[in-house]
């Protein structure tokens, strides 16, 4: 394969994995905006999404169109349960306490997933076959189109939700100023609950679409969560479009680094770029310095 089509191949797979990072980063942002918590269980939502989808479509043989919404529904419930039983009961929470709580929840989810699905890696068949499509000298896996397509749909729906619906606007208001939002009659506690439900749901979607490419096991959540967190920070925490841009950037860099430099160093290359960006611009690419200093430990 000539070099340029190799590069196209790497960019294509980079955009695909980057889309997934972008969705995960959006999940981080939704919760961060309403609570200023970094939810370390976000990666576990992705893992649970993938495995639940495998449960419905592979084990119970449900068709994709039923398995998909059912999985999203299950994850939404998991998000709600998590908020009700772990975040909500804490009196006078500090940011560090909440972070440790979410880490504990992520360990708990991992333990449950291991009990339910075992330690094996599970396979989810691609949505529309595995036959590659020729594209500018490179081979395009049809699942890539599904991933990017569904990501675009998620992003468009979320933008509409935050811009044009009353609940979405209320959530945005909480992100800007929680006290002012509650003075305007917005039920902040309900918005927090909603943000966990929404975050879990889109985390689940990320898991469903990535499972046919990377496969899924009970311990895959942490690494995916870490990359998503990296994207969220790189784009500027809480910044909607920053997360998407940074997710894609991380994915493409990782893929190019693995292909052209050394596959063992792929994560190191992506992280090194992330560190350099933070050192030059401490609040992420699109972040505002004031905001980054505002929510501190």
């Amino acid at each position: 394969m000539p070099l340029y089509s190799q590069i196209i191949q790497y960019v294509l797979s980079g955009i695909t994995i980057g889309s997934v990072y972008a969705i995960i980063a959006l999940g981080f942002n939704i919760i961060y905006n309403s609570t200023s918590i970094i939810n370390f269980a976000q990666g576990e939502f992705v893992m649970l999404g993938g495995l639940t989808m495998i449960f419905f479509t592979v084990m119970l043989k449900f068709p994709l169109v039923i398995g998909f919404p059912l999985t999203v529904l299950v994850l939404t419930l998991i998000g709600i349960i998590m908020e009700r039983f772990t975040i909500s009961p804490i009196k006078k929470p500090t940011v560090v306490t909440l972070i440790i709580v979410t880490i504990a929840v992520s360990i708990l989810f991992k333990g449950v997933a291991m009990l339910v699905w075992g330690k094996d890696t599970h396979f989810l068949p691609p949505f529309s076959g595995e036959k590659g499509i020729a594209f500018m000298g490179a081979s395009l896996n049809p699942q890539y189109i599904w991933v990017v397509g569904i990501t675009v749909v998620v992003v468009v729906l979320l933008s509409i939700f935050f811009k044009y619906t009353i609940i979405g606007k209320a959530m945005t208001a909480c992100a800007v100023n929680r006290t002012a939002a509650s003075l305007m009659g917005i039920n902040v506690k309900r918005m927090v609950l909603l943000s966990f439900a929404l975050s879990a749901a889109i985390g689940g979607i990320a898991g469903i679409i990535i499972a046919p490419i990377t496969l899924m096991a009970y311990d895959n959540g942490a690494m995916l969560g870490l990359k998503g967190f990296g994207a969220a920070v790189l784009g500027g925490l809480g910044n909607f479009y920053g997360a998407i841009f940074a997710g894609l950037l991380l994915g493409v860099m990782e893929s190019l680094g693995a292909g052209l430099i050394h596959s063992g160093y792929k994560d190191a290359i992506a992280l090194l770029v992330l560190l350099l960006v933070l050192f030059i611009k401490p609040s992420g690419i699109f972040g505002v310095t004031e905001v980054s200093g505002f929510k501190k430990f």
């Binding site: 306490t97 333990g111 160093y265």
Partner: protein, 314 residues
């Protein structure tokens, strides 16, 4: 150091000396060695997190740097263990300085991400630099360390060796906290702007305490290496960094004693849970969750609360 701390330190020392005479099972002694090693790093991290209010989710890297410096220099190049020990400290503090200067300008979650990234990069380098580190299969055949002519070759000897280090580090840390520097650090925790306005050189102090905690990590790493006589990258990954942060927070972030209690709990608990087999991870997560929900100030916070109520009743 005030009276209360000196007294606690004395009681701890007595308990530690008596312990191996009551419990002779080498398995328990060996677990206590690991409590000591983890305790040393946790105390350093507690100075950084609890005192100065700066988070680090990459401290396994300094533990790894100390461990690998000792391993590579003694097993492969035939250096004297103590020479490697101090070179490890030197390397860790230099790297802490280089990483600390740009990182500690970051705040909150951005600092968390930067230290996490640094930890992961170090972990990947341990894995990929096969010529020096031996890659994923690690380095074995590391010699034992000698103290004044005596080889630290049994669990009991190593137990006293490690805990002597821990007590030294604990004393140093307690003195540091109750000094002028300690008060300056706490002022950073409360408000960096106010600390700056009062003439505290906050950026310099933050880097210094970061370096101190890196040195403690490196010391623990070297002690670990000469105890297990084998190192591989899997001991120095993200999971261990997160575990260290949890030790500090679960124990109680506002006190170095908390870090010690947290280290003890999180080192001993998995040993007990091993009997549960497949339920191990689940129960472990549940225990941590319950502690955090019901004791948000950590175990030491809970103990203090009980103690104060007891005093009131009496």
């Amino acid at each position: 150091m005030d009276k209360k701390n000196s007294l606690t330190l004395l009681i701890l020392t007595v308990c530690l000396v008596v312990f191996p005479f009551i419990v002779t099972n080498t398995y328990y002694i060996s677990t206590m060695v690991f409590v000591g090693i983890n305790g040393i790093i946790a105390i350093g991290l507690s100075l950084l997190m609890g005192c100065a209010g700066q988070i680090s989710i990459g401290h396994a890297a300094f533990f790894g740097l100390g461990a690998y410096t000792s391993a590579v220099l003694t097993a492969k190049l035939g250096f004297h263990p103590w020479c490697a020990f101090f070179l490890g400290i030197l390397l860790s503090s230099c790297i802490a300085l280089i990483i600390g200067i740009p990182s500690l300008k970051l705040k909150g979650h951005y600092l968390a991400m930067a230290t996490l990234g640094f930890g992961e990069i170090t972990y990947i380098v341990f894995n990929e630099l096969t010529d020096i580190t031996g890659g994923p299969s690690g380095i074995g055949g590391i010699p034992k360390i000698y103290l004044a002519g005596y080889a630290m070759n049994t669990d009991i000897k190593y137990y006293f060796f490690v805990w002597a280090f821990l007590l030294l580090i604990l004393t140093l840390s307690l003195n540091l906290i109750h000094s002028r520097i300690g008060r300056a650090l706490r002022s950073i925790h409360d408000s960096e702007v106010a600390a700056n306005a009062m003439g505290v050189n906050t950026s310099k102090l933050k880097i210094q305490v970061f370096m101190i905690s890196a040195v403690f990590g490196s010391v623990a790493g070297s002690l670990y290496t000469h105890y297990v006589t084998f190192v591989s990258p899997s001991s120095f990954g993200l999971f261990f960094s997160i575990l260290l942060v949890m030790m500090v927070v679960i124990g109680g972030m506002h006190s170095v004693w908390g870090a010690l209690i947290g280290a003890a709990l999180l080192t001993i608990l998995p040993e007990f849970l091993r009997a549960l087999k497949d339920f191990e991870i689940f129960v472990y997560g549940a225990v941590l969750l319950l502690i955090m929900i019901f004791l948000p100030r950590g175990l030491i916070g809970g103990l203090e609360y009980l103690f104060n109520r007891l005093i009131k009743k009496v």
